[in-house]
């Protein structure tokens, strides 16, 4: 293996973030408690720095380290999205971490390390690299979920996530071993070449595909591998939930798409049905079960399962429309979901987090601006124009109908109509009921920036998406057959 300069240069953003993460761990021992917020600023600065570095690499289609690592516009798009998610998460963290009494320096380091893990995932050109990325990300999340050491729910969530995550990782590895056994290689392109002509080893390849699919479905929390999601989302500190629900899912989607479109594209007819079942089940579970939730974090967890179902539909046929649909979907999804979690984590009911739907009652009276932003996120999540969520759903249905699965689009539409109920119920609770409990809305200037950013982009993506669309179009990678 050669460590030539180009390999190092190509992975500079990852190296920077790892380095800065270590710096934060060192700084943490020196910074006094009341100056902890400086670590947040430092984290944001390092993310912006890495973002600029990634931007500099844009447009270069480079297989690095003999194809183990791929820098292309596609991975760059996902990295950009993940950076933004991480930055917004840090913006939301500031008053929240202090209020929950979990303001420790390691939190920021873990944010950076998990970001590195996600970057490795979306850039992976090889299944082992991919596995390393997934594990790096997951290990950071296991810790972050359990950050509230005093809270039983948080610890339980962390433990649950760890056990199930380890289980899914094992299944995923098992799948990789089958693929390796059949093909003798772990690179995506090598597997693709072999899978095009597998001969009598086809069953082994198929087994490998199914097992890796399970691993990915776990990470994007698609039904029936979603069981962990509501509990973990509910138990985790809300900032971490927001980060998990967006960045980790987006990274998983990116690599899911790359692996299945590059390596397994010749077996498309065998796994298409699995994707269809996965997406129908997710839409069903996500939209129907969410109707009965009283805890808003659980509701958003089910909503994120439903959204995974919609986005997964875009994996069905490899063409520009599907690729665009998926990229646009995760992009919009990131802003609206993070925004919604941002509102939730700023609600305070006598010192504790206000996370019941009933806590939102009459929010409009006390905090009209917060209620209005939540209204934007809810209508956007429900897919109502003129917000970004509508165009995201539109492009998914566009791709699905283009691929000839009109009946699947009809099913998706039906669940979207059902799902709209629980989003507009939130709006109803905020606007149409008189306040009973007194809920405070605790906002810092950084949180305000985060909310305005998420809401602004959500609206902008629905009203004038042209600049974003151009950017995504320029990132449509070259690997479409």
């Amino acid at each position: 293996m050669s460590f030539s300069l180009v390999n190092i240069l190509g992975t500079m953003p990852e190296i920077y973030l790892t380095f800065f993460g270590c710096i934060i761990l060192i700084l943490d021992t020196m910074v006094p408690n009341e100056k902890r917020s400086w670590l947040a600023y430092f984290t944001i600065a390092s993310l912006v720095f890495a973002m600029i570095a990634s931007y500099g690499l844009n447009g270069k289609g480079l297989p690095l380290y003999q194809g183990l690592y791929i820098i292309d516009p596609f991975s760059n798009f996902f990295k950009m999205t993940i950076y933004v998610a991480a930055i917004i998460t840090v913006l939301f963290s500031l008053p929240y971490l202090d209020q929950e009494d979990i303001h420790i320096g390691e939190y920021y380091a873990f944010i950076l390390f998990s970001t590195v893990g996600m970057m490795v995932m979306v850039s992976a050109g090889d299944l082992i690299t991919l596995f390393l990325g997934i594990e790096l990300m997951s290990l950071c999340f296991y810790v972050m979920v359990g950050l509230k050491r005093g809270s039983e729910r948080s610890v339980e969530a962390s433990f649950k996530y760890f056990l199930l995550g380890a289980f899914s990782a094992a299944i995923f590895l098992f799948g990789i071993s089958f693929l390796y056994g059949a093909t003798g290689t772990e690179t995506l392109s090598g597997i693709a070449a072999f899978a095009a002509n597998p001969g009598s080893l086809k069953p082994m390849i198929l087994l490998g595909i199914v097992l890796t699919l399970v691993g990915f479905a776990f990470k994007i929390s698609a039904a029936p591998f979603h069981m962990w999601t509501p509990d973990v989302y509910e138990g985790a500190p809300t900032v971490v939930t927001g980060f998990m629900a967006t960045a980790s899912k987006i990274a998983a989607f990116g690599v899911f798409l790359r692996v299945f479109w590059v390596s397994f594209s010749s077996d498309r007819h065998d796994w298409n049905i699995l994707i269809i079942v996965l997406s129908i089940l997710s839409m069903m579970v996500g939209n129907v079960v969410a109707l009965r939730q009283t805890n808003i974090k659980r509701m958003l967890a089910y909503s994120s399962i439903g959204h995974a179902g919609y986005a997964a539909m875009a994996l069905l046929l490899p063409n520009r429309e599907s690729l665009f649909a998926l990229m646009f979907y995760v992009f919009v999804y990131m802003f609206m979901t993070l925004g919604a979690f941002g509102i939730v984590l700023m609600l305070r009911k006598s010192g504790v987090e206000g996370e019941e739907i009933s806590d939102l009652v009459g929010l409009h009276h006390k905090h009209p601006a917060a209620a209005f932003l939540m209204l934007i996120f809810m209508f956007s999540l429900a897919g109502i124009p003129p917000f970004g969520g509508f165009l995201a759903k539109f492009y998914v249905f566009f791709a699905v109908i283009h691929a000839g699965y009109t009946w699947l689009a009809v099913i998706g539409i039906l669940f979207a109509a059902i799902g709209a109920y629980y989003y507009i119920r939130i709006v109803m609770v905020m606007y149409m009921k008189d306040p009973e409990t007194s809920v405070d809305f605790n906002i810092s200037s950084m949180g305000r920036i985060g909310l305005l950013l998420t809401a602004g982009v959500t609206v902008f993506l629905g009203v004038y998406p042209a600049p974003f669309v151009e950017y995504i179009k320029s990132s449509l990678a070259i690997f479409i057959p």
Partner: protein, 505 residues
């Protein structure tokens, strides 16, 4: 044509929306309600005056899209920002802008809490509604079509009656479910019709019969819920009863028309064969709507519910007229749309006048108000007579044309539809006899006659009711070219035999 070199249609859409944003700072101020109301009146009146330039600058002799604008909006999937109007959308836009100031006048007393937000919702709604009528790109149309739901959802849900939450959620989910099928049909059309969302370009294509049938059903679901046609009408009485007066007026006068507009603009020209194939179904549902709505109206105690069911009945005439596929039928249907918008809007305003004084809409609470509110009673009587189709007032002409068209299609349809008019006379006169005439019993409330805001909201409508009854040609001449073109699209070979000409001379 442009107005001060601003594209007039874009101006009409975005002026109220920008106006709503300008109201934002008033939210934090105390005692700003009055200012906000006057600003809103100003915005809607300017909007109305600006919309008159469409009447002046428009060419009634052509069916082509006028005042066209076209820009690339989203550079993926070829989505454009395309606007344009023909005679049909022109009259609907002007009707919309005309009614909006009245909606604000009628809210002067009725809306007491969160006035700024209410006005903002109304203004945003106005922009979206005009967008629906002006959009010539299917996605743009859909965006306005659904975006409209958000302010309406809030108007009913926040400022509505006691059962408002149930009503508004039902309204929202019904319309959303219908609309989503429209979205699928739009996407399917894109792939069948040459990779464009431009409505005019899509009309130029030919679609296979099977595709036409499925797409027609999808569009039908969206539009039938909105109109609402017979089995899909159950959201309407709830929404009407709970909505504040302005909301009821907008619902009845403008939003219901959008379903019919959708049939005229999309279903007929895009899917002529399917339209013919489903004519029987539409006739059956329309007749059911006409008779069922009228019978239900007879049984109501609540005035708003009575008028809501009468809307179902009247809208049955509209769909009937559209699907008889002859000039008088379609022109009658469009005329009926306008007339229903004006008359029913006025009736809801009248109920609002009473409700503001008494907070009751029950027929049993009233009686003999002619003695205490003579001027108002006169107005109510005239609008009721218009609603039941008295010759000389506006509704007569539309219903007459529709019936004429219906008789030409099939005598039995004409006869059945006519019963709707007889029943209309029954329920409207019943309403009048319970409210206006009879013995006046003084109650705890006082019934002063109309104030100046109520005058401002009802008088213009009264003028229009009478004027359209005497001079329907003013409207018909604007519609003629567009309607003939439409009939030509549905029946390419039929001679444009028209009795309307005789009627006009």
């Amino acid at each position: 044509m442009t107005f001060l070199s601003i594209p007039i249609l874009s101006f009409l859409i975005f002026f109220p929306i920008v106006g709503a944003l300008l109201l934002l700072p008033f939210m934090k101020m105390n005692d700003s309600d009055k200012t906000v109301k006057w600003i809103s009146v100003g915005i809607t009146v300017i909007e109305f005056i600006a919309s008159l330039t469409l009447l002046i600058g428009g060419n009634p002799g052509t069916y082509k899209m006028q005042f066209a604008e076209d820009h690339l909006w989203i550079p993926f999937a070829n989505i454009h920002y395309t606007l344009g109007i023909d005679g049909i959308s022109l009259v609907l836009i002007v009707m919309t802008t005309l009614l909006m100031p009245m909606c604000i006048f009628t809210s002067w007393v009725g809306i007491k809490k969160r006035v700024t937000e209410f006005m903002m919702a109304i203004l945003v709604l106005e922009g979206a509604m005009i967008g629906v009528f002006a959009a010539m790109d299917f996605i743009l149309f859909y965006v306005f079509w659904e975006a409209m739901l958000i302010p309406m959802y809030l108007i009913i849900g926040v400022w509505g009656g006691p059962n408002r939450i149930y009503a508004t959620i039902k309204f929202f989910l019904y319309t959303l479910a219908g609309s989503l099928f429209l979205l699928l049909a739009i996407i399917a059309l894109y792939f069948k019709g040459g990779h464009t969302f431009n409505i005019v370009a899509l009309m130029g294509q030919h679609y296979s019969p099977v595709f036409q049938d499925f797409a027609f059903i999808a569009l039908f679901l969206a539009f039938a819920v909105k109109i609402p046609m017979f089995p899909f009408h159950t959201w309407l009485p709830d929404a009407h009863v709970e909505a504040p007066t302005a909301g009821s007026v907008i619902l009845a006068s403008v939003m219901l028309k959008m379903g019919a507009y959708g049939f005229i603009r999309f279903s007929l020209p895009l899917f002529p064969q399917a339209s013919e194939f489903f004519t029987g179904l539409i006739f059956a549902l329309s007749l059911m709507g006409i008779i069922w709505g009228a019978l239900m109206a007879l049984a109501q105690e609540d005035m708003k519910k009575l008028i809501a069911y009468s809307s179902v009945s009247h809208m049955g005439f509209v769909t009937l007229g559209i699907f008889v596929f002859n000039t008088q039928g379609v022109e009658g249907a469009i005329l009926q749309m306008i007339n229903h918008g004006v008359t029913t809007g006025a009736l809801f305003l009248c109920v609002g006048v009473l409700y503001d004084r008494t907070h009751s809409r029950l027929l049993s609470d009233y009686g003999g108000i002619a003695k205490v509110m003579p001027v108002f009673s006169t107005m109510l009587v005239i609008f009721s007579l218009s609603s039941l189709g008295l010759p000389g007032l506006n509704s007569f002409v539309g219903e007459f044309l529709v019936l004429l068209g219906a008789f030409r299609a099939h005598a039995a349809i004409g006869v059945l539809a006519s019963t709707g008019i007889i029943l209309a006379a029954l329920y409207m006169l019943y309403l009048l006899s319970r409210v206006v005439w009879g013995k006046y019993e003084p109650r705890s409330w006082s019934l002063p006659d109309m104030n100046r805001f109520e005058w401002a909201s009802l008088l213009p409508l009264l003028v229009i009711v009478v004027w359209l009854g005497i001079q329907p040609n003013a409207l018909l001449s604007m519609l003629h070219a567009s309607v003939n073109h439409l009939i030509g699209q549905v029946h390419p070979d039929s001679p444009l035999a028209s009795l309307t000409g005789d009627f006009r001379n």
